[in-house]
Every structure is written in structure tokens, then in C-alpha cells.
């Protein structure tokens, strides 16, 4: 296939969270790197692929910190090949893979495995999260130095919470030596064990086992206190309660440095969806009641929440066909996350495009110390092109992901990803984009 080395994306709405730019213009890519905005014709390379995107949004490729695939060990849910395809289709040029595999990513060799599989898939950039604890069992520290040496970008036992408070304290101290962030999913398991859905009136009526909000609040409070005590780096992967967000807000106001993330599902879905008893609505953090959803949006708006993650957690069909009690937690979201944010965060005016995209590209990339989140010259040309006005209907079976577990099946969302570029290569292009005409790929003769 013809793969041009230079692209000129024309007639674009260029949004760069790293500079705050949001304006109409054209963007040049040369040899895998951004080569400037509004370059005059005289400075264009001789051979350049021109693409008039007709006013669509062009922004840095998205970066996800909460993606789970299941390879190795649960390839029936998602492989690195299918998962990275899904990532590209959703506009993600970088993903940090969860250590929750079988066996978990707790050795240098397993980090190496992820890197090799990612490279072989040759889709988006794949980074590995290493385990905080040995065998992800939450008791003693994994060989974090070796994991970091092998390239683990951060340490996480997610989606499991780090239950053992002593272990979390040691992890924060120990990881700080390597300047790595510890990810924690805030949940006190002794309060939530056996739970299926958010505790409240809906849960009471449905008779499903409860996951109380305070299970998250208490964990958030504990985690923040330990950051304060140790000076370690902490990322709360998935806040979802008003109490937890309020704790983050106040701690940040006191100057305590940590980041808070949220899964996209918690921004617009609530616990009434469990009335269907659809196991695809069984996620962790659970879909909360509407007052918590409102608090999540407020936390986004006022900047308490730094990062929006997909929370992509594929589960094969047979697993989600079980009784809701027995079915595993999780929904797929890589391919819908950006559209969910456009539909429920940007269009209602809670965040601007630039603010929202910062939380999906710049902030996560910076947190784990990788490239991305910018359109500035010489940065690797990772970008997403999205038509923000076009609606599409989610059809779980036609998504790239190997699993179908999304409760959004059949719903309409705004924002169609037209293309995703990784290092200057157009790795994904929507079937809705017409094939490049003969003329557009002609040499640019001056």
C-alpha cells in the first residue's frame, strides 16, 4: 500500500491542548513528525498527501491509562491485536495496558512480552503498566525496579484496589525512587465485597448486592493521606462518587500533588440502567446514582479530575451471558469514549474541546512520561481527526474490539473518528472517508 511520508491536513479545526490553540488552519506532517501549522505552499515538501478534512477537528492522538485486554491469559476477551485496532478506531494513538493478565505483568519478561506483542501488532503505541504487588496478590512489592528497567511506565494492581495500606505506603515510597506513579483504584473491598451495583434506592428495589459510595470515599481519603505523608506519586484511576471527588478537590486546594482519573461511563450513565439487569451495566466503579454523576461532571468542570480514561474492560459474550451476580465487571469503551465525551461533556458545554482533549491526551501522556498531547513542531505526529457533528449508532457487533460488552449498543452518539495517525502514518481511516482521489496524491509541483 502507498504510505505517504508527508501529509498536509487542510481545512482543519486544529486543537492543541499543549498550547491552548483552537483555530482553523492546516497542519503539515513530515517524516513522522509535526512540521508546523499553516506552512506556506513554498515550504511544502515535493511529495505530499493533501487531505481536506472540511472543518473537522484535528487534535493530538488520545492516550488511555485504563485499558485492559486480557492477553496473555484471557485472549477470548481481547488480544493485543484486536484491542489496539479498537484503540485506533476510537482515536487513541497510545494506550497503557493493565497489568491484570494471567499471569499478571509482574516481571521484566512479561513487560517485554507486552512490548513485543504491541510492536508486532503495529497499530497504536502500547505501553505496559507493571504490578505494584507480586503476582498482583496485594501482599508484597513486585520487583518494581526491574519492571521500570524493562519499560513499565507506571505501577498498578488495577482494576484491583491496593487493599493493604502498608503495601500502598511502601509502594508510594519505593516507586518515587524511580519517579514512577502508583495507580490505585479507590475501593475498600471489605465494604464492597460481593457487591454488584451502587448502593441506593435502585439497588434496594432490585435486590442486588450493594457497593456503597463510602467504599470509594474512605479509600480516596486514605490514599491522599499517604501521598501527603510519603511525597509519592499517586494516580487515582477511577473516582466516581461526590464524596471522593470532594476529598480530591480539598486536598488539591491544600497543595497535595496527585492526579484523579474518571472512567467515561461514570460521566453519563447512572444506576437506573441496572433495571435492565443487563450484565453489560455491571462495571467497577459501578454506575452511580444521578447525584454522583452530576458531581463527576462538576469535578471535571472545575479541574478536580485531571484525566478521562476509557476503562475499557472486554468480557467475552459467554461471560456476560451469566447471571448478573456471576458475570464479571467491565464494559468496552475504547471505540466509544471520545464520542461519549463529545456527546455528554463537550456538547453540553461542561468542558471546551481543548479542556476535554487535554484530559484525554496531554494529561495522561505527561503523567506516564510519554510523547503525545501536542501538535507542536517536531513532536511525533500522533493525531486524531474527528467529525464532531456527525452522529453514529453504536453497533457492538461491528466494533473492532473482540468483545461486545457495551450497554451503549444501539444508542446514538456524536463524533465520528475519521482517522488516527501514529508517528505520521495513517493507521486507521474510517470506512466513511472516501478513498483519496488521484489528484490529491499528485506531486505538489510549484
Amino acid at each position: 500500500m502507498h504510505t505517504p511520508s508527508s501529509w498536509l491536513i487542510e481545512n482543519a479545526r486544529l486543537i492543541d491542548p499543549s498550547t491552548g490553540m483552537d483555530r482553523h488552519g492546516r497542519l503539515l506532517i513530515v517524516n513522522g513528525r509535526f512540521a508546523g501549522v499553516d506552512v506556506c505552499d513554498a515550504d511544502l515538501p515535493h511529495e505530499v498527501e493533501r487531505w481536506d478534512v472540511q472543518g473537522c477537528v484535528v487534535a493530538p492522538g488520545l492516550c488511555d491509562l485504563s485499558t485492559e485486554f486480557g492477553e496473555p491469559g484471557r485472549e477470548e476477551d481481547e488480544t493485543i491485536v484486536t484491542g489496539t485496532r479498537a484503540a485506533l478506531a476510537g482515536g487513541f494513538s497510545s494506550i497503557a495496558l493493565s497489568s491484570n493478565t494471567e499471569p499478571p505483568i509482574d516481571t521484566a519478561a512479561s513487560v517485554e512480552f507486552i512490548h513485543q506483542k504491541g510492536a508486532r501488532a503495529d497499530n497504536c503505541r502500547v505501553y505496559a503498566l507493571g504490578c505494584v504487588s507480586k503476582h498482583q496478590q496485594g501482599e508484597s512489592l513486585a520487583e518494581i525496579g526491574s519492571l521500570v528497567e524493562a519499560g513499565a511506565v507506571a505501577l498498578s494492581d488495577g482494576p484491583k484496589p491496593i487493599e493493604n495500606t502498608g503495601l500502598l505506603r511502601r509502594a508510594l515510597e519505593y516507586c518515587a525512587m524511580f519517579d514512577r506513579v502508583v495507580f490505585d483504584h479507590p475501593e475498600i473491598a471489605s465494604l464492597s465485597r460481593g457487591g454488584v451495583m451502587h448502593e441506593g434506592l435502585e439497588q434496594l428495589v432490585l435486590g442486588l448486592s450493594p457497593i456503597p459510595a463510602e467504599a470509594e470515599d474512605l479509600s480516596t481519603s486514605r490514599d491522599i493521606r499517604l501521598v501527603e505523608a510519603t511525597g509519592g506519586r499517586l494516580h487515582l484511576t477511577s473516582v466516581s462518587t461526590s464524596g471522593s471527588i470532594d476529598l480530591c478537590r480539598r486536598a488539591k486546594a491544600r497543595g497535595i500533588a496527585f492526579t484523579a482519573g474518571i472512567f467515561v461511563a461514570n460521566l453519563h450513565m447512572n444506576d437506573t440502567m441496572l433495571r435492565s439487569f443487563d450484565a453489560n451495566c455491571k462495571v467497577n466503579p459501578p454506575l452511580r446514582s444521578q447525584d454522583h454523576v452530576a458531581a463527576c461532571l462538576e469535578g471535571l468542570r472545575d479541574g478536580t479530575i485531571d484525566i478521562i480514561s476509557s476503562g475499557h474492560r472486554p468480557c467475552s459474550l459467554e461471560k456476560k451471558m451469566l447471571e448478573i451476580d456471576a458475570a464479571p465487571f467491565g464494559m468496552i469503551a475504547l471505540e466509544t469514549a471520545l464520542s461519549q465525551v463529545i456527546t455528554h461533556v463537550i456538547r453540553p458545554g461542561i468542558l471546551t474541546w481543548c479542556e476535554a482533549l487535554a484530559k484525554m491526551s496531554l494529561n495522561p501522556a505527561r503523567l506516564i512520561g510519554v510523547s503525545g498531547g501536542t501538535l507542536q513542531t517536531n513532536a511525533p505526529a500522533d493525531l486524531v481527526i474527528v467529525d464532531p457533528e456527525r452522529k453514529w449508532k453504536v453497533d457492538a457487533t461491528s466494533l473492532q474490539s473482540k468483545s461486545y460488552n457495551t450497554p451503549l449498543d444501539g444508542t446514538e452518539l456524536y463524533g465520528v473518528v475519521l482517522a488516527t495517525f501514529v508517528e505520521g502514518r495513517r493507521k486507521f481511516v474510517s470506512p466513511s472517508v472516501p478513498k483519496p482521489s488521484f489528484h490529491s496524491s499528485l506531486e505538489n509541483v510549484q
Binding site: 441506593g200 428495589v205 432490585l206 435486590g207 439487569f277 451469566l322 447471571e323 448478573i324 451476580d325
Partner: protein, 332 residues
């Protein structure tokens, strides 16, 4: 037990005329009482009494559902509800097929949907399902073409139990409106409580839920239900007490210090009967833990209607089967 006598075709025909499936009866499944209207509930109660009379208190067999097959699909142990449904089906002339399996589908290696589809493929007209997980009847109703009747899904709903409890009260008091009915005990894990609450509220009764704070959520108040932790305080106001069984098997962690202490606070005994209204009705969905929720003297005493509940159970289940299956004579 009374043996049903020969088929009584004239009775059946008369019944079909006097108690037809109403035009506006839209339900194909019975999943819970939450989504039934007051008039639909009343209809089931009326039909239950009519069918009970038509079978001459169970001595006669009708042929209203002749040729129909009803599958009992029980994923959780049960003897009384299962037998009650079987008898109800047989008294209406239907055939029954029994399927039981304990434990969740994870343990068995076959999803319960597959199990249900297998049963449906035996060309049954309805499945009566009991399962420890809430929502399983709803899930089945999406996957099966036949009628699904919820015979108890975890702590969620047990609609026929709710209906038979309400029928029993109505038989003694004529109407539910204005009565004060207390559900006592393990509300958190009780499907019977939930079905009763929906039905009783719709029919105008005042409902109190009473039990240890660890098993009675304050959130019930949002539905207009009174929450109490003291049986002695509410007792003088109650017209009916429904004493729920402590569901030890559903409690991962014991929610109260000991059975002894529970009995002290919530068991219905002769002392408490004395403090109650003279005509108080004592109900229990069973199986009862004698000495825990109520003492033997109360269970067998003059206020107890526990065995009437059992008899009414068959009537309610006949009405349910008739209303769900009566119209679809050529459906298959």
C-alpha cells in the same frame, strides 16, 4: 391430599365465559409486582378465587390449559413453591416438566440461558423460574419466546408469594385499603418483602418494614414505607404481621449478634400477641424457623393464617397461569 376427580368440561367452559382474559391484559410474563397496576393485581386476586371455587377447593380438575406444558425450572431449592406451581398447572389440566439444578451456572459449566433454551426447545408454554440471582427471569424473558413466571429471583421479587399474601389478607378483611401491614425481619434479603411492598402500596395499605437496622434500609422511606427497628413500638398499630424468615444462606456476614438476640427483639410470641390488636393476622411466607421468627404457639394459634396462605398459593398460581396462557391457544 385430595385427588382431583374426572375432568369437568362444563365448568371450564363456564369459567372461560365468566372469567375471560380481558382485552387490556397485556402481560406475557409475570416478573414482579412492581410493574403491575392495582387493577391488574385485583384481577389476579379475583380470578384466583374464582378458579379456587371452580375446582371445588381442589377436589376437581379443570381443563382450561389442556395440552399446555409448564416447566418448573428451579435453580434453587424449593419444595412448597415448586409443588404449588405443579398442582396449579395440573388442576388446570396442563402438563408439567420438572427441572432442578442447584448452584449457579458457573459451577455447572452451562449458562442458565442455555439450560432454559434447552427446556424451551421441549416445546413448553411457560417456564416457572427460581434462581438465587436477581434479574434472571428478566434475562430469560428476553431470550425465550414462551412465558416466564418468576418464582423468586434472589432478593428481588416473588410475585406469586406477594399476591397470595395479599389475597389472604383480603379474604379476612375484605379490602386492603387503610390496613397497616408490617413486614418483619430480614427485609434486605427478602423477595417476599419487595413483592408485598409493591402490591400493598398499590392497593392502598400502609406498609411498615421492621427489623434490625443492618437488614432494614432507611431508603425504603423514599417509597413511602415506614421504617421501624422496634417491633414492640409498632405492634399496637398493626393489622397484619408478615414474619419473614431470616435468610441465613444469603447473608455473607451475620447482620446481628445472635439468633438469641434476634428472637428477643423480633420474634412473635404469646407476650407480644397480648399487646397486639385483637384481630391481628399473623402470616409467614415459610418455611418458618419455629422459635426464631415466631414461637410454635403463635404459628399454630388462632391469629395464624399461615396454612391458608399455602392454599391460596395454588389459587394465585392457577390465576397466573390462566391469565398468561389462556389466550394463546394456538400460539405454538
Amino acid at each position: 391430599m385430595t385427588q382431583p376427580s374426572a375432568l369437568t368440561v362444563p365448568t371450564s367452559l363456564a369459567l372461560m365465559e365468566s372469567h375471560p382474559i380481558p382485552e387490556d391484559w397485556r402481560h406475557h410474563h409475570l416478573l414482579g409486582l412492581e410493574h403491575l397496576t392495582a387493577s391488574e393485581i385485583t384481577l389476579i386476586l379475583d380470578y384466583a378465587e374464582a378458579l379456587h371455587r371452580a375446582t371445588e377447593n381442589g377436589r376437581k380438575k379443570l381443563d382450561l390449559l389442556k395440552g399446555r406444558t409448564i416447566a418448573n425450572l428451579f435453580f434453587e431449592n424449593s419444595t412448597r413453591t415448586r409443588n404449588s406451581f405443579s398442582l396449579a398447572a395440573k388442576r388446570l389440566g396442563a402438563d408439567t416438566v420438572e427441572f432442578s439444578s442447584s448452584g449457579s451456572s458457573v459451577a455447572k459449566g452451562e449458562t442458565f440461558i442455555d439450560t432454559a433454551k434447552t427446556i424451551e426447545a421441549m416445546l413448553v408454554d411457560a417456564v416457572v423460574v427460581r434462581h438465587s440471582s436477581p434479574g434472571t427471569p428478566q434475562m430469560l424473558s428476553k431470550h425465550l419466546a414462551c412465558s416466564v413466571i418468576n418464582a423468586g429471583d434472589g432478593p428481588h421479587e416473588h410475585p406469586t408469594q406477594g399476591l397470595l399474601d395479599i389475597l389472604t389478607i383480603r379474604q379476612h378483611r375484605g379490602s386492603l385499603a387503610g390496613l397497616t401491614v408490617a413486614m418483619v425481619g430480614d427485609i434486605a434479603h427478602s423477595r417476599t418483602a419487595r413483592s408485598n411492598i409493591w402490591g400493598l402500596l398499590k392497593l392502598g395499605a400502609k406498609v411498615i418494614v421492621c427489623g434490625p437496622a443492618t437488614l432494614v434500609s432507611k431508603n425504603w422511606e423514599k417509597l413511602g414505607v415506614e421504617v421501624s427497628y422496634s417491633l414492640d413500638k409498632i405492634l399496637p398499630r398493626c393489622d397484619v404481621l408478615n414474619l419473614l424468615r431470616i435468610q441465613f444462606e444469603r447473608q455473607a456476614i451475620r447482620p446481628f449478634p445472635s439468633v438469641h438476640e434476634y428472637t428477643l427483639l423480633y420474634a412473635m410470641n404469646q407476650e407480644r400477641i397480648k399487646k397486639s390488636k385483637d384481630d391481628i393476622l399473623i402470616m409467614a411466607p415459610g418455611p418458618i424457623n419455629r422459635g426464631v421468627e415466631l414461637t410454635p404457639e403463635v404459628a399454630d394459634g388462632p391469629h395464624s393464617v399461615i396454612l391458608e396462605q399455602v392454599t391460596n398459593g395454588i389459587a394465585i398460581r392457577m390465576a397466573t397461569l390462566w391469565l398468561l396462557l389462556g389466550r394463546r391457544l394456538d400460539a405454538r
